[in-house]
């Protein structure tokens, strides 16, 4: 199934949005979606196409927003891009649709402070339980070395 077909039926499921596919290097297509349409989109992908493999979820702290990238693989790359506000970002979980996403979501919870609504077990995956301070991948988090540089 190629990307124009995927785009076409995603557009069908989400008639109120205008979807566009952008190209990334190495055979990767990116489709930007508003946060509330992620679940219907993933559901549509699973039910109506042969896309089932979620490679991972990348979370990153951009200037004004938190970005989540859902990377799929179906013989070619497909990435769904979601933007969330930096203040108290939250989004619906997809682990009932794709159970394999559980660890990726947990990692984003601890690394970026995004909350996933409906995740049954959002405890830290990698960080120690007594972690204090801002999540380490947020912009305001500074490594010890960087802190010294700022002060010095």
């Amino acid at each position: 199934m190629n990307v124009s077909q995927i785009l076409a039926f995603l557009q069908e499921t989400l008639p109120s949005e205008r979807l566009e596919a952008q190209e990334m290097p190495i055979n990767e297509q990116v489709i930007s979606l508003p946060p509330q349409t992620l679940r219907p989109a993933v559901q549509a992908l699973l039910e109506q196409s042969d896309v089932y493999h979620l490679s991972t979820i990348t979370g990153q702290d951009m200037d004004g927003q938190i970005e989540l990238l859902y990377h799929f693989w179906h013989g070619g790359g497909l990435t769904l891009r979601i933007s969330l506000p930096r203040q108290e970002p939250s989004i619906d979980t997809i682990i009932d649709l794709i159970p394999g996403a559980a660890f990726y979501e947990r990692e984003i919870v601890e690394m970026l402070g995004v909350s996933f609504l409906g995740h049954p077990d959002p405890q830290p995956l990698l960080l120690p339980e007594d972690w204090e301070g801002s999540p380490p991948l947020r912009r305001e988090f500074a490594l010890p070395e960087e802190r010294e540089e700022e002060e010095g």
């Binding site: 960080l127 380490p136 988090f141 490594l143 010890p144 070395e145």
Partner: protein, 148 residues
């Protein structure tokens, strides 16, 4: 047991035995696996450290030497100390690999606290990233030469 000659003979026997029967325990406190597989490699036909009497033990209670690899991460810290405390005396610690010696490439990471010597008394440092098995054998033998 009061006679000095008897004690000196016994002491010599014990020192001889300790130098020839170092049982090691391996703990990775946050390394990349490179040194760990090289430690396991010590047991295999090419290096075969059993010919030097070195055995890799499973329980801290049976071990004489603690081989530490990797930098100390926040979560591993308490565990590493506990393993060291479980070992019966006399016991020694060898830091294997650059990150165990100083933190290596991972120094400065938010979850990394630096080398092993911040936590345990290290007897021998074996640098290298990853260490070659020959270097590890040399490290263990260097330690054994100092054993009293």
């Amino acid at each position: 047991m009061r006679q000095p000659w008897l004690q000196s003979i016994l002491g010599r026997c014990v020192r001889w035995a300790r130098r020839r029967s170092p049982w090691v325990l391996h703990y990775n406190s946050g390394g990349c696996n490179g040194c760990d597989i090289e430690i396991l490699d010590l047991l295999t036909p090419r290096y075969d450290v059993e010919r030097l009497g070195i055995l890799k033990e499973a329980s801290p209670r049976h071990a004489d030497i603690l081989l530490c690899t990797g930098p100390v991460t926040r979560q591993s810290r308490d565990r590493l100390r506990r393993i060291y405390e479980q070992m019966p005396a006399p016991k020694w610690v060898i830091a294997i690999g650059s990150c165990a010696c100083s933190g290596g490439v991972f120094a400065g990471g938010f979850n990394v606290e630096g080398g092993i010597d911040g936590l345990l008394p290290v007897d021998v440092y074996v640098p290298g990233c990853p260490c070659r098995p020959e270097a590890m054998i040399d490290g263990i033998l260097t330690l054994l030469e100092q054993v009293q």
